[in-house]
Structures are given as structure tokens and as C-alpha cells.
């Protein structure tokens, strides 16, 4: 029998490197499927001395997202928060890939608001929703005599995030509730996804909750009722999750 086979990959944010670094990646990694951990890329690119450290965000946007995720999952007595776990990097890379571009979504018009039962009906892709939402929130701050979001104190940031969540803030273009919902969803994703995507650094999220990662075989442990599983977390890339040492 004959099989026509084609590669199929719609989650390549893991491998995403901005265009200007592709040469560098090609030199280091002959296979297109090779994973280049973000830290390695960051370190390498520092010596290239080019502007633009991010896959999608501008520096202002990245700072905004770091500020927001620090409030959504703060650094506290229980351990590192989303910022320390690299969640802003995770979101940056997600938005640069097929997810950010809504590549698999149906994005043909006509566009109508619809009922809440009809789900997402915005013309904005996730990447566009972030860019629009961030600009809109800072514009709202300015209009209301406040400093930009990232410069507000924690209590003010919490208040504004809460108002976005409730839809109590009227933004110029981005629907506040939709923007907040996507931001929170992506923050939780980044905190709890495999570290190879840039977040959950040093397994911060998995250590917090007690998830050991893709350990694969629990035949011997599944009927040891009530007993805490002893092994430390691993990721798909191994014990340090990103295959690079902390600097």
C-alpha cells in the first residue's frame, strides 16, 4: 500500500527565533526541528549587539506583560511568580507563532458580535489583541491621569486588572474582558507548560503544585494510596527542563 506523508506541525513557537537570528540558528542547529532554548538564544544574541530582544513584543510591550503577569501570579512566600518563571518570554514566543497568528482559526467574515454562547467573534488574532490591548490600557491610564500600567504600584495594577476582568474599563478598541481572559489563560499556560516553551522556568509552576512532569510510568506507584510521589520534576528535555545551565 502507499502512504502520502507530510510533516504536520502547528505548535512551533518552541523553535521560534526572530528572523535576524535564523542564520545564527542555522549555523548552530542543522536540523529544523532542533530546539534552541531561549536562554541560549538570548546569550548568543547579546554578543550580536542588535536591537530587539523579543520574538514578537516591543520592549515596552514586554515590560507591560512582565508587570501584568507579576500580579496575576506573584512572587511570594510560596515561591517564584510568573515573571521569575519566564512567563512573559513564553507569551512572547507563543504570540510570534501559529497561535499568535490564529493560523488554524476560522478568520473569515462577516464579523458579528454574536451571543456569548457563540464564542470568540473578534477579528483580532491573539497577537493583535495583545498589541491593541496593551496600547489601549496605557492610553486609558494616560487619559485618567495615571502613569503607564507597568509603572503603577502593585495595588493600582491589581485594581486595574480586576476592572479589566470585570469589563468595568472601557478600552478604545480591545474588549477589556476578552483581553484579560486571554492574558490570564496564557499566563497560567506559561506557568504550567513544559519549560521548553520558555515559561515554568526551573519547574516553578510544577514544584508549586507537586506535578512531577511527564514521568511516563507509574505502574509501581499508582496503588500506593495516599503516598506522595518522591521523584523531582522532569521536562521533555530532561531534568533542568531547558537543557542549559543557569547563569
Amino acid at each position: 500500500m502507499a502512504v502520502l506523508n507530510r510533516n504536520h506541525d502547528r505548535c512551533n513557537e518552541m523553535n521560534f527565533i526572530p528572523a535576524r537570528r535564523r542564520l545564527l540558528k542555522a549555523a548552530l542547529a542543522p536540523s529544523a526541528a532542533t530546539i534552541v532554548p531561549v536562554r541560549f538564544v538570548s546569550n548568543a544574541s547579546a554578543s550580536v549587539a542588535e536591537p530587539g530582544q523579543y520574538a514578537y513584543f516591543t520592549p515596552v510591550e514586554f515590560t507591560w506583560v512582565e508587570a501584568a503577569v507579576s500580579r496575576l501570579i506573584p512572587n511570594d512566600d510560596l515561591g517564584p511568580g510568573a515573571k521569575e518563571a519566564g512567563v512573559a518570554t513564553f507569551i512572547d514566543r507563543q504570540l510570534s507563532g501559529p497561535y499568535g497568528r490564529a493560523e488554524t482559526w476560522y478568520m473569515q467574515g462577516p464579523w458579528k458580535k454574536g451571543t456569548k454562547e457563540q464564542g470568540y467573534q473578534l477579528k483580532l488574532t491573539p497577537a493583535q489583541l495583545y498589541r491593541t490591548g496593551i496600547t489601549d490600557v496605557d492610553a486609558w491610564c494616560s487619559k485618567n491621569g495615571k502613569r503607564p500600567f507597568a509603572e503603577l504600584d502593585a495595588a493600582e495594577q491589581d485594581k486595574l486588572l480586576h476592572d479589566l476582568e470585570q469589563g468595568d474599563v472601557e478600552l478604545a478598541r480591545a474588549p477589556a474582558k476578552d483581553f484579560f481572559a486571554m492574558l490570564l489563560q496564557n499566563t497560567i499556560e506559561g506557568f504550567l507548560a513544559d519549560p521548553m516553551y520558555g515559561g515554568n522556568r526551573d519547574f516553578a509552576g510544577w514544584k508549586l503544585i507537586g506535578f512531577p512532569g511527564p514521568r511516563y510510568n507509574y505502574v509501581a506507584e499508582i496503588d500506593q494510596y495516599g503516598k506522595r510521589y518522591a521523584m523531582a520534576p522532569v521536562g521533555l528535555l530532561g531534568r533542568d527542563g531547558t537543557r542549559v545551565k543557569d547563569t
Partner: protein
């Protein structure tokens, strides 16, 4: 202009569970069978390797293995006075794309429907009277009985290597099994899976309340297994990555693990991937299918002639192809006339999250590792006082503890901030969830047709879904959820959180990929698209196979019944149709 290709005996449209079984059975009968699959080829190695597949973000969150709405989606509305809008990304259900279909990414929860489920209208009328059925409820008998299907349920279970405990063998109730199941001729091929702590807690609590819990039948292998075709499976390791993932361990039954190893080696079988079928073609009489039209990855159009055309795509896609091809009379909800698109149904689910004191290690699990009670499914109880029709099982599944989508928090837990972190730290290892899985009856106003506005990637109208939950389903689901809460209480938890399904059906968030109807089976061409052998009434060399044939939906996961119906249809084709091609039933 389409390029005309050399003819084949049989063309299968879509290459999931139903096509794999039909491919195997019809090549065994000596036919040259071609399967056309819109997605990519996928196999255990390399696509589902354990060093790759245990990735929640890629597979469960970003939907790697499923259909892309960009190419094919549907429009949705709750009622026909609304404007349907496209499902822009996957939500309530997740049909697959690619070889193996949804058989790759299911959990493996494999059930038989009850004998009375197949007699939905006549049984209810006989026990409760005709007036018990609401006027707008369009339920009907299937045209096959449980006894007809029993040998084929058996065959599918021995194809898959189901792990389980029989509850009824030839009428004799078996200890530890489901005493409400229909009689089976023999036990399951494999013993039940080891129990997770969560299922042990449920078992104890359900017994305290007075129910008869049993291990759920699982298409996850409790031991190594060699199936009816000689395919070898390995023992499940409880890695907790079944639903939304392929199995890298040859432990979850799928076309890849149970059929491909044999079928793909045959000279009289051919698979073409990235072959998207857009129409069924007919001759001038309209009574004979001549083949199908498909588009390949380069956008080239081909005409594939075939003597026998079998639609084996996902439920609504089969219906879509019938409507686009003009086969059968489209259903009109105003008059109640017409059949194609009629009796779309779904399922109604709810859950009770139970926050227990002990560590339950939720990440150790398997897709069908569960303990259930069946007292309130189908017509296993007296519906007279309840005044609704249908039911479902109540089960505690321990499918895995994948952190992004499978964490549960108490009702009062903050959604973000330090409070969220603390709630995650306090609860992740100490939470189980009890699920209810309820039937949905068919109604005059729940149907599929072609959308007047939105188009797919080929410019054809999208299929349009008009559907909402009815009062009958809400009351039934509330009844089931109350039973789940009783069991949860008996577990003496720190806290519990009842997630009752309320209000309108909504296309988000995920509920279940148990879409049914639209090309239903029956014994009367005025109320069914296919006869009791899944053969088109209008075009006798066209068969339409899958859950689209269900006249309404029962309170169990549908795959076992889809598998049984497929073997039933394959048997009819082999033993009757091939000897005398033509209608197998007179209209």
C-alpha cells in the same frame, strides 16, 4: 477540471475508526479498498513517541491533532431565529484530522448502550404511555436491537483489548461488574486496570450510599494483548496522557495500535492522505454513486471512481457531504419533512469536584481508569415520578493530572494572585472529580443544514448547527448531578464544588466530542437517511457510517456503539450486499 483516476472497488471517505475496520473487513473479502484522508499520516512511531507526546500545551491546549477550523468548521446558533456564526476555534467538541481520526486522541472509555436504548420510542411508550414523550421530541427506535449488535460489540471489544469486569454473562449477574449492562456472551478480553486512589474512594462512598460501583470498561490495556487481527499491544503505564494525545506505548486502542499493523501491509489496500473529499458523485439517474471528488494538498481536483462509496468521516462531516452532494432530502424544521440533518443530538455533562484530605496523585492515571455507577442510566430506574426521559452514568475518572487544564479549585478560590497560588498548592494533589455523562434526546428544532453565509476553504457552504439543551435534559442532568453530589458527600471531603450545567448550550468551553445524528438509521425512509445496515435509502451503493446514524444519544460514550455498528454494516456488506448489490431493505 478534475483528473479521472482508475476505479477501485471501495472508496472510504476519512480514515478513522470506522474506515480502518471497514478497510480491514472489506480487503479480507478480497476487495480493492482505497481510503481518502483529509489530514496527515500519523503512527505510534514517530508521531506519538513518549519523548514527544506528553506535552499538554502542544496537544491539549493548542489542539495539534484536531481539525483546523481555518479549513473546516461549522456555524452555530441556539435557535433558528438567531444568525449562526462560525466556531472560530475549537471549543465544545474536537473532531480530529489525520489518520486514525478521533480514535487517536480519545480516552478509551468504551461502553455498550443498553438494550432499551435501541428501542427509545417504543420502550418509553410501552412502559410510560405515549403521552410521556414531549410533542417536540423526535426520538425513534434504531432499527437494530442490542441482540443484533451483541456479536459486533464483542468483536470491537476483542479488537481493542478492553479491560473490564463483566456484569452480565448470558443473563447471569457477575459480582463486581455492571449489573445493569445488557447480557454479553463472554467476559472482557482483559481484567480491569489497577485502581487509582480516587477510584477506590469513589467505590467506597458509592457503596455507602447504596449503589453498585464497578470498574469502567477501558480501551487501555491492563496487560499485554494480542488482538483478533494479530496486532500486539503493551501494558498501560498510567502516564496520564490519553485524551488529546496519541499513545506512545501501544496501550490505548486506536486504529494505529489495533488495525494499521495488519491493514497497511495489504496489497489490496491503499491510503491517500491530504485527500479532502468535497462531493459524492452520482450517475444521471441519481440512484447510483459513481465515486467521489477530492482535492489534494496542491489544490488539484481528482475524480475517484468506485463501485461502493462509504462515508466514514466524523459525524457532522458525513452529513455535510450528503448535503453538499444533494443526496437525500434535507430536513426542514418548519414542516418536519426531510431527513438529512435531522435529529442532531449531543450529550449533557456535569461534575462535582471533591477536595479530599489525602494525596491522590492525580497525574497517575489512564483515560478510561474509572469507577462508575449505572443505576441512573437509560431506563434502569423508574422515570414515572421524575417526568423526564434519559439518564447517564456517574463516574470518577482518573484520566491524568495535566496541570493547565486538569486542575480544580474550590469555588471560593481566587482566579489569580497569591490566593490562586495558594489554592493551587493546597489542592492540586488532593482533588478528584466526579463526572455525570447524560443522554440528549432528539428534537424537532435541533438539526444540521447548510449555512447561507459562511464558506469553507473550498468556497462551499459550512454546515450550520442549530442546537440547544431542552428542559428534559436539564432536569435529567440535575437529577444525575444530585446523585454525584450524594456520593461526593459520602467521601467526607474538605470541600466540594458542584458544576451543574445550566442555561443554553454553548460552543465553548469543551464539553464532549460526542456529536450524533444528522444521517440517522431506521426502517422508514421518511424518518431516516440510512436503513438498518447504514445503507443510503436513496443511493444503495452508498453507506454512511458513524455516530451520525444515532437517532438520539444515549448516556454512554459512543465509540463502542460506533465500533459495533461498523462491524454490523461490514457484515451486511460482506454477507448480503456483495452477493447481490442493491437495497438491503425495501423502502
Amino acid at each position: 477540471m478534475a483528473t479521472r483516476l482508475p476505479p477501485v472497488d471501495v472508496v472510504l471517505v476519512g480514515f478513522g475508526w470506522t474506515a480502518s475496520i471497514l478497510g480491514q473487513e472489506l480487503t479480507d473479502a478480497g476487495l480493492h479498498v482505497l481510503a481518502l484522508e483529509r489530514g496527515a499520516f500519523r503512527d505510534t512511531v514517530p508521531d506519538f513517541a513518549t519523548t514527544r507526546i506528553q506535552d499538554e500545551l502542544r496537544y491539549a491546549v493548542r489542539n495539534e491533532l484536531f481539525e483546523e477550523p481555518e479549513r473546516e468548521t461549522l456555524t452555530f446558533r441556539n435557535s433558528s431565529d438567531q444568525t449562526a456564526l462560525p466556531m472560530r476555534h475549537l471549543g465544545s467538541f474536537k473532531p480530529a484530522s489525520g489518520a486514525g481520526g478521533a480514535g487517536v486522541h480519545w480516552n478509551g472509555q468504551n461502553w455498550r448502550f443498553l438494550p432499551t436504548d435501541f428501542l427509545q420510542r417504543s420502550h418509553i411508550e410501552q412502559r410510560y404511555g405515549k403521552g410521556f414523550i414531549p410533542a417536540d421530541m423526535t426520538i425513534q427506535d434504531w432499527g437494530v436491537t442490542y441482540d443484533d449488535l451483541e456479536p459486533f460489540y464483542d468483536k470491537f471489544e476483542y479488537l481493542c483489548g478492553i479491560s473490564g469486569q463483566a456484569g452480565n454473562i448470558n443473563g447471569a449477574i457477575q459480582p463486581g461488574g455492571n449489573p445493569f449492562e445488557g447480557p454479553r456472551k463472554r467476559g472482557f478480553p482483559l481484567p480491569p486496570l489497577k485502581r487509582s486512589y480516587g477510584t477506590v474512594l469513589f467505590d467506597k462512598a458509592a457503596k455507602e450510599v447504596g449503589y453498585k460501583p464497578f470498574p469502567c470498561p477501558a480501551a487501555n490495556t491492563s496487560k499485554p494483548y494480542r488482538n483478533i487481527y494479530g496486532a500486539q499491544m503493551g501494558q498501560c503505564t498510567f502516564c496520564g496522557y490519553c485524551e488529546w494525545f496519541g499513545c506512545g506505548n501501544y496501550s490505548k486502542s486506536s486504529p494505529q495500535t489495533t488495525v494499521f499493523p495488519v491493514l497497511l501491509r495489504k496489497d489490496n489496500f491503499e491510503l491517500r492522505t491530504h485527500a479532502d473529499v468535497t462531493r459524492v458523485l452520482r450517475d444521471a439517474s441519481g440512484r447510483r454513486a459513481t465515486g467521489v471528488l477530492y482535492v489534494d494538498a496542491q489544490g488539484r481536483e481528482f475524480e475517484q471512481p468506485a463501485d461502493l462509496v462509504i462515508l466514514t468521516a466524523f459525524a457532522q462531516h458525513n452529513v455535510h457531504l450528503l448535503l453538499l452532494s444533494g443526496i437525500g432530502k434535507p430536513y426542514d424544521p418548519k414542516t418536519g419533512q426531510g431527513v438529512v440533518g435531522r435529529n442532531y443530538a449531543y450529550q449533557i455533562t456535569s461534575s462535582v469536584d471533591v477536595f479530599v484530605n489525602d494525596i491522590v496523585n492525580p497525574f497517575m492515571g489512564a483515560g478510561a481508569l474509572g469507577q462508575a455507577i449505572d443505576e441512573f442510566n437509560g431506563d434502569n430506574f423508574d422515570h414515572g415520578p421524575e417526568k423526564f426521559i434519559g439518564g447517564g452514568y456517574v463516574a470518577l475518572w482518573t484520566t491524568g493530572g495535566r496541570p493547565i487544564l486538569q486542575h480544580h479549585l474550590p469555588k471560593d478560590a481566587p482566579k489569580w494572585g497569591s490566593g490562586w497560588k495558594k489554592a493551587m498548592a493546597d489542592n492540586y494533589l488532593r482533588t478528584v472529580s466526579i463526572a455525570t455523562h447524560g443522554s440528549v434526546m432528539s428534537y424537532r428544532d435541533a438539526y444540521l443544514d447548510l449555512d447561507p453565509t459562511y464558506r469553507d476553504v473550498y468556497g462551499s457552504p459550512l454546515i450550520r448547527l442549530t442546537f440547544d439543551f431542552h428542559d428534559n435534559e436539564h432536569r435529567m442532568s440535575k437529577f444525575l448531578t444530585d446523585k454525584a453530589a450524594l456520593i461526593a458527600k459520602a467521601m467526607k471531603p474538605r470541600a466540594m464544588h458542584v458544576n451543574q450545567r445550566e442555561g443554553h448550550y454553548t460552543i465553548v468551553p469543551y464539553q464532549t466530542t460526542h456529536n450524533t445524528g444528522g444521517a440517522i438509521m431506521g426502517t422508514d425512509p421518511r424518518t431516516s437517511v440510512v436503513n438498518r445496515y447504514l445503507q443510503s435509502w436513496d443511493v444503495p451503493n452508498l453507506f454512511v457510517v458513524g455516530s451520525c446514524a444515532f437517532p438520539q444519544n444515549a448516556g454512554y460514550n459512543p465509540t463502542g456503539t460506533v465500533g459495533a455498528l461498523t462491524y454490523w454494516a461490514a457484515h451486511a456488506i460482506r454477507t448480503q450486499y456483495l452477493k447481490k448489490p442493491g437495497p438491503l431493505m425495501s423502502a
